[in-house]
């Protein structure tokens, strides 16, 4: 049995899961309109750290540390807190490091500091530098599976622990925003210039965000924690950048993780909920096809924006903590249901006594993932 024994969220809303949880409960968000940022011609709405915020915090926490990039510092500020809380030995060969990121250090390209042969922006190099910080001797794994990376990384960590090769795994998810990523999403016309409205009739796109989030996972532990009951990854086999109309992959992951599990026990389905027309519609189809449309759904993109490599980890952590406090968190930004299948969207903090949930994700490349988390 694989459990999550410690976690951390480091975001523009706060450092640590508790600070983030309180901010979310108070309805706060750091989504702001950024005009002229990075010289981009078009303004964009995003949840970003203040300039110098990460670097300042890292320098005061680790004044002796070697030269880490802003992205690596953000990841480390989250990971070190989670590792400390867990009490595990991150330098042990029995501990595996799994990084979840889509673009890692890609902003370094901008500074023209990399020649074609330079590997500074390779995701695996960032992972190796983070492993070295902890003195971990193993080759770290980087899961880069578009938007579903975080959930995939948790599934990958679970399998590695089940193999018996490791006792603990540290899963660190994150992405920093940059002209590269923002202009890419702008080219897709996928960004909303106002705070996003997941599942709403008035939704017109997503917001981007930056954050790092970490879970520490352990095998066969007596410690209290959420159990990863089941996980699945499936592909739409339909299109690279738009989801299957029949929600083929998403439906299949829901069906796979719910096999033999009573839907009555589910407190909530925490969706991807990007507030793009296609994603939210597809998720509603998947949930209905899986027969789960009576289960409340929520989404956190209206708080944090789409935090990419962090999203799957961050949103799982937030849902675990909410259920620990007997609460379903609201879907910030939601107004009136605008998807074709009837969903029960959580709009205000709602009490619950249930202790199981699904975290679902979908991404470019046609990939979909879901995990079923349970706490007895």
């Amino acid at each position: 049995m694989i459990k999550i024994i410690a976690d951390n969220i480091y975001s523009p809303l706060g450092s640590g899961t508790a600070e983030n949880y309180d901010a979310v409960l108070q309805g706060r968000s750091r989504l702001r309109l950024h005009e002229g940022k990075w010289g981009l011609p078009e303004a964009f709405m995003a949840s970003l750290f203040e300039e110098g915020e990460i670097e300042g915090r890292f320098a005061s926490a680790y004044p002796q540390a070697e030269d880490y990039s802003r992205f690596e510092q953000m990841m480390l500020l989250s990971a070190t807190q989670a590792v400390a809380e867990s009490g595990i030995d991150a330098s042990s060969p029995r501990t595996l490091l799994v990084l979840s990121t889509t673009k890692g250090n890609v902003s370094l390209l901008e500074n023209n500091s990399c020649a074609v042969t330079d590997s500074a922006t390779h995701l695996s190099i960032a992972a190796e530098r983070i492993a070295r910080f902890f003195g971990n001797p193993n080759l770290p794994l980087v899961v880069s599976n578009a938007c579903i990376s975080g959930v995939c990384a948790i599934i990958v960590a679970q399998r590695n622990l089940q193999s018996g090769a490791y006792d603990n795994a540290v899963v660190i998810g994150g992405d920093e925003q940059s002209a590269f990523i923002v202009s890419g999403f702008q080219s897709f016309k996928a960004l909303s210039s106002v705070p996003c409205r997941p599942f709403s009739v008035n939704r017109h796109g997503l917001n981007l965000g930056e954050a790092a989030a970490t879970v520490v996972m352990a095998r066969d532990t007596a410690r209290e924690g959420w159990t990863l009951q089941a996980g699945a990854i499936r592909n739409d086999a339909y299109h690279l950048s738009s989801p299957s109309r029949q929600a083929e992959g998403s439906y299949r992951v829901l069906r796979a993780v719910m096999k033999g599990f009573d839907a009555e026990a589910l407190a909530v389905i925490n969706t991807h909920g990007t507030a793009t027309l296609y994603n939210d519609e597809m998720e509603s189809v998947a949930i209905q096809r899986a027969g789960l449309d009576a289960v409340p759904v929520n989404g956190y993109k209206g708080i944090y924006g789409h935090t990419m490599g962090a999203a799957g980890v961050l949103e799982t952590i937030l849902t675990m903590h909410a259920l620990d406090k007997g609460t379903l968190l609201p879907t910030r930004g939601f107004d009136e249901l605008g998807v074709s299948c009837k969903l029960v969207v959580v709009t205000a903090p709602t009490p619950t006594r249930k202790h199981a949930f699904i975290k679902m994700m979908s991404g470019f490349g046609g990939c979909n993932a879901a995990i079923l988390m349970n706490k007895r």
Binding site: N145, V156, S187, N235, A237
Partner: protein, 186 residues
């Protein structure tokens, strides 16, 4: 436990299928086009793909020909899980070029999508109608023991019968390598 079925190995100037070298005329990027023309020919999406995807696409086309089973049957019992070092670095640089000069900043969605390293697994799934697991993992260097552990993990999903897997890396138009095979659960 798993069994390794068929192997395709492609470098900038050599193609080896199940240990037998296939004669080729071209090298580098043109080698991949030659293989596409000889072995596929009717999937023009190929020409939209970046280097990493072209490499993954032709390598799996050769692999599936070697397997010799009926193609394009919808199902979720086959996964596509690949390992790489440089991932999407070539497409990253191409996309970066398009936004470098902000006064003439015209990023293209077609170019942006290939800056996600997992797109190659999506291309292969889409081509073959595989609804199974797709994933891409990055390592600083190839490590067969670690890769095998991941593939065993994929096969632990009770729906999964086989995995198209292996190492795929495109550092440049003349510097690339793919070694792919089919891992079957026993």
């Amino acid at each position: 436990m798993m069994k390794r079925l068929h192997t395709v190995h492609i470098t900038h100037n050599q193609v080896v299928i199940d240990g037998v070298e296939r004669r080729v005329k071209s090298c580098g990027k043109a080698l991949l086009t030659e293989l596409y023309n000889d072995e596929v020919g009717d999937y023009p999406r190929f020409f939209k793909m970046d280097m990493l995807c072209r490499l993954g696409f032709v390598a799996t086309e050769l692999l599936l020909k070697a397997e010799g089973k009926p193609r394009f049957e919808e199902g979720d019992d086959r996964a596509v899980v690949l390992f790489s070092c440089s991932g999407s670095c070539l497409s990253d640089m191409l996309f970066e070029e398009t936004i470098r000069h902000r006064e003439a900043c015209f990023p293209s969605p077609a170019a942006f999508v290939y800056t996600l390293p997992n797109i190659v697994t999506g291309e292969i799934a889409m081509r073959n109608r595989y609804h199974g697991e797709t994933n891409l993992m990055l390592l600083t260097r190839r490590n067969d023991e670690l890769m095998e552990r991941q593939i065993e993990g994929v096969l632990a999903d009770s729906t999964c019968r086989s995995v198209i897997t292996g190492w795929i890396d495109a550092e440049g138009e003349d510097r690339f390598e793919a070694e792919v095979w089919i891992a079957n659960g026993i």
